[in-house]
Structure formats: structure tokens, C-alpha cells
Symmetry: C2
Amino acid sequence: MTNSYLDTIDVRLLRYFAVVAEECNLRRAAQRLFMSQPPLSRHMKNLEEYLGVTLFTRHTKGLTLTNEGTKVLQTIQPLLRTQESVYEQLREFSTASEKRVAVGLTTAFEQGTFTTLEKRLREYYGERLRLVRSDSLKLVRDVKKGKLDAAFVALPLDAPGLELQATHYAEPLFAVLPSHWLEAEKPGLALKEFNGKPLFWFHRDSNPAFFDFTKTVFAHAGYEPLFMEEPEEHDVLLARIAAGEGIGLFAASFAAISRKGVTFSPVAEGELLRLALGITSLPGNEFLAQELVELAAAALPTP
Amino acid sequence: MTNSYLDTIDVRLLRYFAVVAEECNLRRAAQRLFMSQPPLSRHMKNLEEYLGVTLFTRHTKGLTLTNEGTKVLQTIQPLLRTQESVYEQLREFSTASEKRVAVGLTTAFEQGTFTTLEKRLREYYGERLRLVRSDSLKLVRDVKKGKLDAAFVALPLDAPGLELQATHYAEPLFAVLPSHWLEAEKPGLALKEFNGKPLFWFHRDSNPAFFDFTKTVFAHAGYEPLFMEEPEEHDVLLARIAAGEGIGLFAASFAAISRKGVTFSPVAEGELLRLALGITSLPGNEFLAQELVELAAAALPTP
DNA sequence: AATTTGTCATACCTTAGAGGTATCACAAAA
DNA sequence: TTTTGTGATACCTCTAAGGTATGACAAATT
């Protein structure tokens, strides 16, 4: 019996192949699969290598299936269908025959903000609920992969291909400063007072749209920050601010956390710099998303 | 519709589950799957998490399926069967409707050793052949994974669960020394003359059985080497030997490669330190293995 | 009762491979 | 000629699969 490499092919590759065959265009197929074009190109090449078959002819307008490619496509259809139906059946088995709900929760706001919401979610979904805390970008990735059904994320956020529903909830950003920088209590600090001073901020890659937006706001306010890489851990960040290395900008709810040596202070431009709470999900999960919006409306303060 | 994590489960996990369910024992199941017990334990835990179902009750004599576990097992059977049959059909598609043959070739011998063998293989299998060169241990791993149908490997080698057939071909080891260490031409150097001198040698982990064996031979010969980590690249190794950092021990065929500053010399214990050529494959591939043994017999010199 | 053995679980590490960005080569369209 | 849209390539990052070492625990053995 010749194994010829084939046993190790992931069914996922075959599913990718089906989508590519349908689109006849790598870029579009990649978009539908929530990935970028190059890895998909590689996957198709590998698949051809595995199978020992040329699946496509490549030309400058896209791809077209070869005859063998068509045959392969027909051959795998039953497998893809069987997988779907079996997975559908497996979903029925979850505890108490009820469908599980996996929901993400952003760490962009102070976690205490969500205690009521969490309680409501647990009451509402009971054992079926699976709650995951992470930063908005990882949550978006997991929603795309199907690991999460929906996620509460911080807006603004660019999530192409996903449904995105806003809730009423939003918070202005607060400045977090080393206490000794603040000569007197000044509510509503103007950002321009910090011109040239270092700001702990996220890397542009993690959310280009929001990064560029804030940069514009900073510029308008006359604040040209010296960007410093933000530490992962919240307490580390506070410690470094206390040490006078730079300032931070957090959602207002974080003012609930105090630390020796740092001062939370509202900024004059706070209303421009708002984080809103949104719910993201794959198209098709609108019902769940709507449920979550309503639960959030009932369980979050109206600021 | 709720995705609930489930879409991302690899079918492989389900296949593992089926094996575990059959064996009711993680260690044995892991052995059948060519992996160690801990990852399998984790996989089963993850699977339960994904499905939201307790599949097994764990006790001190092994595992037993729960009722839900049995139901899940029944549910996935059609998928596993469909996958097998579809993959079987896919194999038919390989170029010219012929089954492909993936064969590994060890780098433990000088590659020129195999020129005739390679030629024969290509003549015999034609386009169907896929030849991979790597070290014996990676080849064994790929054979286990099904990426290779069979591989020519260096013996002795411990490959539990795999078929292992010896060919008639074997080579003694030669010493490779910095030229300036050799005062006069001495054919048949005794290892003990190098006592305490550094030896570039492989890490024990890569082949414990062979490592221990050679160590015993060294000890008997009165050679207590100072083991040094062997560089990956052959030419780097030669350069460092030329620089006088230590000696090496290679299969005799490598004497074909000369380099300024190093001398290849047979060792008196060479007949004890032999590398043989073997063919390894998964049980069930005996026919191919036998073919390869015969091709090797015809294409390799009888030393 | 104490020891040994065989079970699964846990902690930690290494590494293959999936996916990302930047960029290329090429042909069709403008 | 330039622009635009195609797939391919090179290179990087990081997740997750698999490995080793070890633990906790119960049954079997002494």
C-alpha cells in the first residue's frame, strides 16, 4: 500500500481548494477564507505536489481548473459534505444537548466594567457559555477562524468581512501620568502640554486605522508624542509610568485602578478620543450578535 | 448559527479519538499513532473542551468511553470512512494514473555512493518517484507520518513500530584528522592513540542506541573522547577539523571528498564501527521495501 | 505495610508549518 | 508607456503539535 504523502493532507487544504476552484482567483478566495493571498498560493502548490496532479492552469486573469482538477474537485465533494453534516451532528452533543456559545471580551476596558454583563451572560446562557478575555485583535482573529461565535471588542476597529455592531457604551481616554509631573490638580489637561513627551502606545500594525486616527487627533491638539512601545502587562506599564518614563492613555474605566506614583487625569480632547464597545461576528451570527447587544444594553452603565 | 469552536477541529483529532476509544489506554494508543502519551492526553482533553462533552472516565486502569463518548464515536465513523475512501480515490489521480512513490535517502553516506542506485530508481519508477535526502532520523519520522513510503537509512537505528530490512551494503567508519596531527602515514590507526582528544560527534538524543554502542566500542578500544557538538554542515565540520579543533568519524565513502588540511584514515576498529544501509517502511509496505532491497542489491557495490 | 508498577495529568521546551508583509515578474488594459 | 491586477517568491513571526521529565494516584506485588 503506497501512502505517498497523501495521508498527511489536512482536510482544510481540500476545503481551501474548493473555494479557490469556485472563485478562480486567489485573491478573492483568500478574502473569503480570511487569509492573505500568498499562503493560499503556497497551499495550492503543495496540494498539487501532494496529489501529483496539476490542478490549475495559471494565467494573468486568474486560475482555471484543469480536467484533473475538476475530477479531484468532484472526488472531494462528498468528503466536504460529510464533514459538514457530521460536525453539525457533533454540535448537538454539547452538554444538555444545548449549543455552546463562545464569546470574547476585550481587555481594552477595565475588567470591572463587565461584572454585571458577565453575570447576565452566565444567567442567560448558563453552562453553554464559554467566555474568553483577550485583546480586540486576537478576538477578531478567533472570530474569523470560527473559534468564537462573537466578541465584544473596542471600536474603532477595522474588521473586513465581519459583522460589526456598535453598542451604546463608550468611554473617553484618560491620561495616566507620573504623579510628580503634575504640579497642581488640573482637570481636563490639554494634550499639547505633553508635546514631545514620550507616550506608551501600541504598535501601528495592531490597529492601523485607530493608530492613524489618534495620531491625527494628537497632531490637531498640538501633541507630537515620542512613541514608546507599550508593555504587554498592565502593571508593568503603570510601574514604568510611575518611574517617569512616559505617559499613557487608557479608557476612563481604568481610573478605578490606582497605583502609587501615577495619576489618572481626564484630557480636554477626551471626547474625541473615545473607545466604544462593539460586537463582532461572522455573517450568519446576527441573531446571537443582536442578543448580545441587548444584554449589553441592559447590563452596562449609560455614561 | 453557532460555530462554537467546532469548525476548527482537525479531523486528525477525531481519528486519534477513535484509536484511543478502541485501545482504552493512552499509552498504547499513542504508540499506535507514533506519538508519545502526553500530547495525546492533551488532545483528548481539548477535544472534550471543543465538543463540550465528557468523552471518557479516567481511572487507574485506563479510560472507558462514556455514553456520550460512544455516541460521538458512532457519529464520526462515517466521516473517517469517507475520508479514507476519498483519499484512496485521490491516489488514483497521480500523474498517468500511477501511484507515486516517495523514498528517502540518508545523508549518512557520501552521496556519490548512490548515483547508480538513484539512476536505477528513476529508471524503474520514472515520474512516479519522489526522492528526499535527509538524515536517517528525520526520514524515520516522515515514514511514520506517512510522508514517505520508505527510506534508505543508516543502521544501527532504533525504529519501533516500523519494518526494517537490512541490505548487504555496509561501510566501516574512517577517522578524519587534522593532517598535522599525523606524523607518519599509518594505515589502521588504533582509536586509543586519540585518547582524551576531542571528537565531533552527534548528540545522544538523535540516536541513543547507536551512541551508546559506539561509546562502548570507544571504551573498549581505550578511547575516552571529549565529545564536541558536531556542526550540521559537512564542509564546516571539515574546516574545523582542519583547524585542529578535533577529529571526526565518517563512513568510509566520505574519503572520496578531500580537503586541504584533513586526512582520512581507516581505523583498526573499523569493522566494529560499521554503518549498514537499511530500508524502513510502515507495516503494509513490504512489497515496496522488498523492491527497494532488490534494486539496492543490484545498484550498490559489494564491499 | 511498604514497594513497585502502570495509569493519566502537568510543566516546560523545541520546532514545523501556517499565516503575514513586502516585493517581484508578467501580461492585459488604459 | 504606464497602470493595474494577476500569481509567485522571499523572508519573518508565532501558534500549536509533539517531545522529555516528572508528578499524583491507585492497584498489584512484595
